[in-house]
């Protein structure tokens, strides 16, 4: 079996299990939301614990910058707390807080558009280097066997940073975080067709940027 496919399938199941809340989680989240709306900070603490990794991941993949992602993820939860009373439950809390996070990131990117992109991969935990699937990926199947994982990560982040904000959002939510098209459409407030269209063009651009790794 293709080591790339093997590695990504194993991680995909893990990530999807993390990202898609089941019915039990949803009821627990709903209970916490109601308590938090009544001003219970302990209940909100549970919500933060439940969503912090996903929200941080979204912010990180949108900015490719650990410190920015840290600030943006915190801002997201603070804004969500302040707006919690206005949450009517028309969508899931999960969709609602994701929408806040995406908008927070997009606003940040607009404000910092002129700033030189700074990749902070060295600040992150590089445990994936020791992941057997990834070691197989960079040593067996890539055209540049001598290339290391850091180089691949750098190229990936550069390619993603070249995308427009809209395209980066759908790539982050779909390809990295594993959300389905209809959920992304709800988060971004667009049609599912628009999500597919943005993904198509984003993929075309990324294939051009990562041509060396696509062979």
């Amino acid at each position: 079996m293709d080591p790339i496919a093997e590695s990504t399938e194993s991680t995909e199941s893990t990530v999807l299990a993390r990202t898609a809340p089941n019915a039990e989680d949803a009821s627990e989240v709903g209970h916490c939301v109601r308590r938090a709306q009544a001003g219970d900070l302990a209940a909100y603490d549970q919500l933060v614990h439940q969503f912090q990794e996903r929200i941080y991941g979204l912010c990180y993949h949108m900015t490719s910058h650990h410190e920015d992602a840290n600030d943006l993820a915190q801002d997201t939860f603070v804004k969500a707390w302040q707006a919690l009373k206005s949450f009517k439950g028309n969508s899931s809390f999960y969709t609602w807080i994701y929408r806040i996070a995406v908008n927070t990131c997009l606003n940040h990117l607009k404000l910092r558009r002129n700033r030189t992109p700074h990749l902070s991969l060295n600040d992150l935990d590089l445990q994936p280097e020791n992941h057997p699937d990834l070691v197989a990926l960079v040593s067996d199947k890539t055209p540049r066997r001598e290339a290391n994982l850091a180089e691949l990560q750098r190229r990936l982040n550069e390619a993603i940073l070249k995308l427009s904000d809209d395209h980066r959002s759908v790539v982050t939510l779909h390809d990295i975080q594993g959300l389905p098209h209809d959920q992304i459409a709800k988060i971004l407030g667009v049609n599912p067709g628009t999500v597919r269209s943005r993904l198509f063009y984003a993929h075309q651009q990324l294939q051009g940027s990562l041509a060396d790794w696509m062979k």
Binding site: A5, Y44, G57, Q74, L121, L156, I176, R196, H203
Partner: protein, 192 residues
């Protein structure tokens, strides 16, 4: 649409980014930081607006209020600025009141208004007051200014002018009328 081989390959590459995680232990403190910020916001919300406004100078952008803040640097600057504004407005108000009261008095004694202390009143103000005090002699709208010299002769001030003064403005003792080259007025009871 995206099921071709390059797209699959690309998606597999992108999924690698899921392995990029923050430093170990990062999420242990994350929620505490968020809750601290929320508590700070809540406590800030409990402070009256006017006090929050004064405390802005001592407050960080995201952090809590670091001190009561009323007398912080920002508060002092604001207080000084407000004091200066109040003083300026008050000064203007009193100045306008004084001017109005002088204008209302109309027939101020010439000696008290100007000649009593000639050096204390500007020539223009003296002329205006003079005109106001003698409306029957001078039309205030046609006031003309003439350079005069005030000198001390003995214990009495002496006012003189080398330019001809309008007739009637000064009725000089012994002078037959305006148009002469020099005028001299003595004040007080000093002998001529």
């Amino acid at each position: 649409m995206i099921d071709d081989e390059p797209s699959k390959r690309l998606q597999q590459l992108l999924r690698l980014k899921r392995h990029e995680t923050p430093p170990p232990g990062y999420f242990n403190e994350f929620s505490d930081t968020v809750l601290d910020r929320i508590r700070a916001l809540e406590s800030e919300r409990a402070i009256p607006k006017w006090r929050r406004w004064f405390s802005r100078g001592s407050q960080s952008s995201n952090g809590p209020i670091t001190e009561p803040g009323l007398w912080s640097v920002g508060g002092w600057n604001t207080a000084i600025g407000l004091s200066m504004l109040v003083a300026m407005v008050g000064g203007l108000y009193w100045a306008s009141r004084l001017t109005n009261s002088e204008g209302m008095s109309g027939n101020l004694p010439l000696q008290a208004a100007s000649f009593g202390n000639p050096s204390a009143v500007s020539p223009a103000a003296s002329a205006v007051m003079l005109a106001r005090s003698m409306p029957e002699l001078v039309d205030p709208r046609s006031v003309q200014f003439h350079p005069v010299t005030v000198s001390m002769s003995g214990s009495s001030p002496e006012l003189s002018s080398t330019n001809p003064l309008p007739y009637g403005l000064f009725q000089l003792p012994g002078a037959s009328g305006g148009g002469s080259d020099a005028y001299r007025v003595r004040f007080g009871n000093s002998p001529r």
